[in-house]
Structure formats: structure tokens, C-alpha cells
């Protein structure tokens, strides 16, 4: 099938899956909780308060109607009102999402650069110092919990060395730049506020590195393995027999072929980034979607949980779709 058909089919599947996702989300927040209202108000609440809250949340209506409302609302981007912030959930999400997006983007940029560099160097200088270091770094990176790395680095770089700030997106006294995208780095650059830019950069470095740590390790590992594999292939021997010099062989012939598994991993790690964001934002007090959801779950803010989870699933599916597309573009054999 050609590319257009491939794209169409994937989009169609995505819609079906998202519907199912909505069902799951609804199920979680509406069917599972034994006594949702009681959980919020506590055991000793007077019955009128309970009834009032029930009506407000719409819990007095039959399930099927509630589900219908939920889906109808979701399609319009209306997830109800947050029990904690009293804002429409969608507004909250739009407020917090750019922070997470920015963190994830910087994290993935860092990890792609670091990861691929380490991976290629490792493969080319197999078994020498850089390889050993990179392999230890990788295996540890994949084994250590993100939140723990975050705390440790916070301890070292903030508490002990004071080189980097300890939390938040900007210093306490700094105003955020005029909002265009909600991403402070981009917005401050667009507005020419370079001091703010610098501050935002310093604040994002540590959380982004921590968030990307697992990804860096995975990317380095897969790049190394993939590169080693590719270097053994017949066509590399042909390239050498043509008298091409070593760097050309590595960077022109081997690299593009070895990127194929790497792209898959990048797609996989992106999902990991969304998960890691939840943890990293908690450690670094980063006001992003992850923290919003976590707070929502801890405080049983059902609308926030539903809306936030559905939104995250949506973004995650979108990211996977993009990766599939990139994959098809990169490897002509994949465009079956």
C-alpha cells in the first residue's frame, strides 16, 4: 500500500483506540471508586452535603448518561470543572501542558544528542575506555529510578554545589515572558528577553537531564548495538572496498542504517518521558501536567483525573503515530 493509505489506516485505528481509551478512563473514575463522594468529603459529612456534591458531580444520574455526557464533552474538549482549582479542567490542562511539553522536548533533545554520540563512539571504539564508560552509564541509567536520580542530582548540584536552581521554572522574582506558546524558552527568545531566557534555561537543565537520563541510556545502548550490527554487514565491506575513508564509511553508510532501530527506541522512550515527567515534575516542583494529574489523583479530583489522563493518552498516541510515520519515511523497505 502506498503512503497515503498507510496514513489513513493508522489514523482510523487511532480513533478507535482513543474511544476505547475514553471508555477505560471513564471506567476508572466512575465505576471503580466505591464511594467517590464520601472519599472526598470524609466519613462524617452531613447527608445534605453529600447529596449536593453528588448532584454537582452528576453522580446521581445513571452510568450510561454520565458516559454519554463524558464522551460528548470530551469531543468538545470539555472535561468538566476541577474539584480542587475550580477551573475548567481543560483550562488547567492548557495551562500546565506547555511546561511538560517544554521539559519533554528539551529532555529528548539532550538525550538524542548525548545518546547517539555515546552510542556511535562506543561502537567505533569498541571495548576501549569510552565504550566501558558508556556501557556502565547506560546500564545504570536504565536501572536507577528517575525520581532517585533527580533527588541525588538535586542534592549535589543544588544543595551542595549551588550551581543550578532547585525547582520551578523561573526564579521567585522573575516574571514569565509574554505568553505565545507557554514554553518559557521559546517565548522569552521570541520576546527578546534574554535574561529570562537564561534563567529558564538554567532551571530546565537539571530536570530535563534527569527526565532524559533513562532515554539517553536506552538510546546509547541501542545505537551501539545497532551500529555494531551494521558495521558487520556486507555493504560496509563493499563501501570499504571502494576505498572510501573510515569516517565516510561510518557516517555516510553505517549511520543511516543504524538509525532505524534507534528511531523505534526514540518513539518508545517518548512514552517513557511522559511517565518520567510525572515523577520529575514532582521532584523538581515543575508546574506541568504530570504534577497536575498526580495531585488530582491524590485528592480524588475526578474531573481532573479523567481529563488529564485522557489528554495524556491522546498525546501519547499521537507521538506513536508520528514515530511510525518517521519510520516509514526513513526506511524505504517499510513502505510496504
Amino acid at each position: 500500500m502506498n503512503f497515503g493509505q498507510f496514513l489513513l489506516r493508522r489514523l482510523f485505528l487511532m480513533i478507535i483506540v482513543l474511544f476505547g481509551v475514553a471508555c477505560i478512563v471513564f471506567f476508572i473514575a466512575n465505576v471503580i471508586p466505591a464511594d467517590p463522594v464520601g472519599a472526598i468529603l470524609g466519613g462524617n459529612a452531613p447527608p445534605e452535603a453529600v447529596d449536593r456534591l453528588k448532584a454537582k458531580l452528576g453522580y446521581d444520574q445513571p452510568l450510561i448518561i454520565r458516559f454519554g455526557n463524558f464522551i460528548a464533552g470530551a469531543l468538545q474538549g470539555n472535561f468538566g470543572v476541577s474539584l480542587k482549582t475550580s477551573n475548567p479542567v481543560m483550562k488547567d490542562i492548557m495551562n500546565y501542558f506547555p511546561a511538560t511539553m517544554e521539559l519533554a522536548i528539551v529532555a529528548i533533545i539532550i538525550s538524542i544528542f548525548l545518546g547517539i554520540t555515546l552510542g556511535v563512539l562506543s561502537a567505533v571504539h569498541r571495548n576501549k575506555a569510552i565504550d566501558q564508560f558508556s556501557r556502565i552509564f547506560s546500564i545504570l541509567g536504565v536501572s536507577m529510578p528517575v525520581f532517585w536520580i533527580g533527588l541525588l542530582l538535586l542534592l549535589v548540584f543544588y544543595f551542595k554545589l549551588g550551581w543550578l536552581p532547585g525547582g520551578g521554572r523561573l526564579g521567585f522574582f522573575t516574571y514569565p515572558p509574554p505568553r505565545v506558546t507557554g514554553m518559557y524558552l521559546l517565548d522569552s527568545a521570541l520576546a527578546g528577553q534574554w535574561d529570562t531566557f537564561k534563567e529558564a534555561l538554567l532551571h530546565i537543565l537539571l530536570p530535563a537531564f534527569v527526565l532524559g537520563y533513562n532515554a539517553t541510556a536506552s538510546i546509547a545502548r541501542i545505537t551501539r548495538a545497532s551500529m555494531l550490527d551494521v558495521l558487520k554487514q556486507d555493504f560496509i565491506r563493499t563501501a570499504k572496498s571502494k576505498g572510501l575513508n573510515r569516517n565516510v564509511v561510518i557516517y555516510r553508510h553505517a549511520l543511516r542504517n543504524s538509525m532505524i532501530p534507534t528511531i523505534t527506541i526514540i518513539g518508545l522512550v517518548f512514552g517513557g518521558l511522559l511517565e518520567g515527567a510525572v515523577l520529575t515534575e514532582t521532584v523538581f516542583s515543575w508546574p506541568g501536567l504530570g504534577r497536575y494529574i498526580t495531585t488530582g489523583m491524590l485528592f480524588l479530583d475526578y474531573p481532573a483525573v479523567m481529563g488529564g489522563t485522557l489528554y495524556i493518552a491522546f498525546i501519547y498516541s499521537l507521538a506513536n503515530l508520528i514515530v511510525d510515520i518517521l519510520y516509514a519515511l526513513l526506511d524505504p523497505r517499510m513502505r510496504m
Binding site: I139, V142, W148
Partner: protein, 290 residues
């Protein structure tokens, strides 16, 4: 000089070869050793732990590591070493139950989908996709939060997000087995679908699923620890490594040991499973089996 032909015993030879490969890979050996240590600690936890992990003693709170308290004490005066040791039991329990539950669900769904094919397959696979559309931690968090955070619900929540891998694996195996001639023969002899599925298809899935289970044990611990860290998992006072790391957050500057040691253990055990998993994977790779 004539050599007498050796009587070939493929199973034993295979086993011996596997053991040989195992010993040869240093990293796999290290992984295995780590896991064995972990299992021993978990098994003998009450004997190893010098103090009660739950008992509070405010008079000795926040003490730095010393000979009496190897890992120091936390803000409630509890011995961190004992808590970390006890936490290994919690971890092991979680790993075990999650593996059994998610493995079972996965195999059943996968075999059903692969064996029956057609619409059953499509529906089950779409359902699998739906679960995979969430980052697994987020979904686990949602389930744990709604069910009410505690040890049991942590296990349930993690199982719910883990079964998909095994379903896909089992389905692939089922598809392979389904087209074998001997399945036709059984059907011709009057064997019912259920019988075929359970007696013939399912056993073939167990091996790859077991391997995958081992590979994912590290992830299970990380997810459980993450839930614990966020407060959505195992609740205090039950010792759980992730929750312990979170406990120490407010004391990070001066009492670094409260968060650090549990984290080291998490990393240690996950590392062990990862090394072991890598080794197992390499061993099974036919290209490398020489």
C-alpha cells in the same frame, strides 16, 4: 583409528551448553548473583533486620549511619537498614504476584486471540492497543488512586498495565501452533477447541512468556517504587523502597541517608534483573549460541 559414535542426548547437551554460556558471560553471572542475594535477603528478612522496621523511637530520630544503625534512622526514629531489608519482602511479593496475575491474563487473552483469529482476534487486539495507548505508569497511577492506595491495589494496578506484552507474545505463539498439522489431527479425532487451547497451545506459550516475565521484573519494581514515591502505592508504615525515598525528601539536605539507601537498593535489584534479562536474551538468540 575409529571413533565410536557418541550417543546423542540433545536435551542434556543443550542444558550443558546453556550452563556454559551462562558462566561465560560475566555480566549475566553478576546479575544472577545479585538476584540470588536479593532472594536470600527477602527470605531471611526478619532474621537479618536488627530492629523492628515499623516501631518508632523518636529519641533516636535522624541519626546518621553508624555501627548501631548501618543506614541511620529516619524522622520517626526507625532503623533504615531494617526497613530497607523488610522492603525487599514487599518488593518480592509484588514481583511475584504481578508476574503471576499479568502473565495469566496475558496468556489467556493472547491464546484466545491467536487461536480463534478473525473477529475475536481483532477485538482483543484493539483492546490491547487501548491499554497500550497510555503510558503505563499513568494508567497504573489512575487505577491505584481510584481503588485506594495500598499494597493489594498496587499489585492489581501494575498487573493491569503489564499483561499486554504477554498477550501479544502468546498470540504470536498461538498463531504458530495453530497451523501445525498435529492440531488438525487432534481436531479430526474430535478434540474440542478448549481442550486444544489448554493442552496444546498454552504450554507452548509458557516458555517465551516466562522469559519475558523475567525481563520485565525490573520494570515492575520501578513502577511499584514510583507509585510508592508519589504516594499512590504502598502506604506507610509498610516499608516500601519508593515510599521510603519520598519520606526522605524533606530531609535531603542534612539527612541524605533516608532517601539514598532505599534508592540504592532499588537500583541494585533492577540492575540485577536487567543484567540477567540481557543474558537470557543473548543466550536464546540463535545467532549467538555458539
Amino acid at each position: 583409528m575409529e571413533k565410536t559414535a557418541k550417543v546423542s542426548r540433545p536435551f542434556m547437551d543443550d542444558l550443558k551448553h546453556t550452563a556454559f554460556l551462562w558462566r561465560r558471560s560475566r555480566l549475566t553471572m553478576i546479575g544472577s548473583v545479585i538476584i540470588v542475594i536479593f532472594l536470600l535477603i527477602a527470605a531471611f528478612a526478619p532474621l537479618i533486620a536488627p530492629y523492628d522496621p515499623i516501631e518508632q523511637n523518636l529519641s533516636i530520630k535522624l541519626q546518621s549511619p553508624s555501627w548501631q544503625h548501618l543506614f541511620g534512622t529516619d524522622q520517626f526514629g526507625r532503623d533504615i537498614f531494617s526497613r530497607v531489608i523488610s522492603g525487599s519482602r514487599t518488593a518480592l511479593w509484588i514481583i511475584f504476584l504481578v508476574s503471576v496475575i499479568s502473565g495469566s491474563i496475558g496468556i489467556i487473552i493472547g491464546v484466545t486471540a491467536g487461536y480463534f483469529g478473525g473477529i475475536v482476534d481483532e477485538v482483543l487486539m484493539r483492546i490491547t492497543d487501548m491499554f497500550l495507548a497510555f503510558p503505563s505508569l499513568v494508567l497504573a497511577m489512575a487505577f491505584a488512586a481510584m481503588l485506594g492506595p495500598n499494597l493489594t491495589n498496587t499489585i492489581i494496578a501494575i498487573s493491569i498495565v503489564s499483561w499486554t506484552t504477554y498477550a501479544r507474545l502468546s498470540r504470536a505463539e498461538a498463531i504458530k501452533v495453530k497451523s501445525q498439522p498435529y492440531i488438525e489431527a487432534i481436531k479430526a479425532a474430535g478434540g474440542g477447541n478448549l481442550r486444544i487451547m489448554f493442552l496444546h497451545v498454552l504450554p507452548m506459550c509458557i516458555s517465551p512468556v516466562l522469559v519475558q516475565l523475567t525481563l520485565r521484573m525490573g520494570t515492575i519494581i520501578l513502577t511499584a517504587a514510583s507509585l510508592g514515591f508519589l504516594g499512590l502505592g504502598v502506604q506507610p508504615p509498610t516499608p516500601e523502597w519508593g515510599a521510603m525515598v519520598s519520606d526522605g525528601r524533606n530531609f535531603l539536605i542534612d539527612q541524605w541517608w533516608i532517601s539514598t539507601f532505599p534508592g540504592i537498593f532499588i537500583a541494585f535489584v533492577v540492575l540485577g534483573f536487567n543484567l540477567l534479562g540481557d543474558g537470557i536474551r543473548d543466550m536464546l538468540d540463535p545467532r549467538l549460541r555458539r
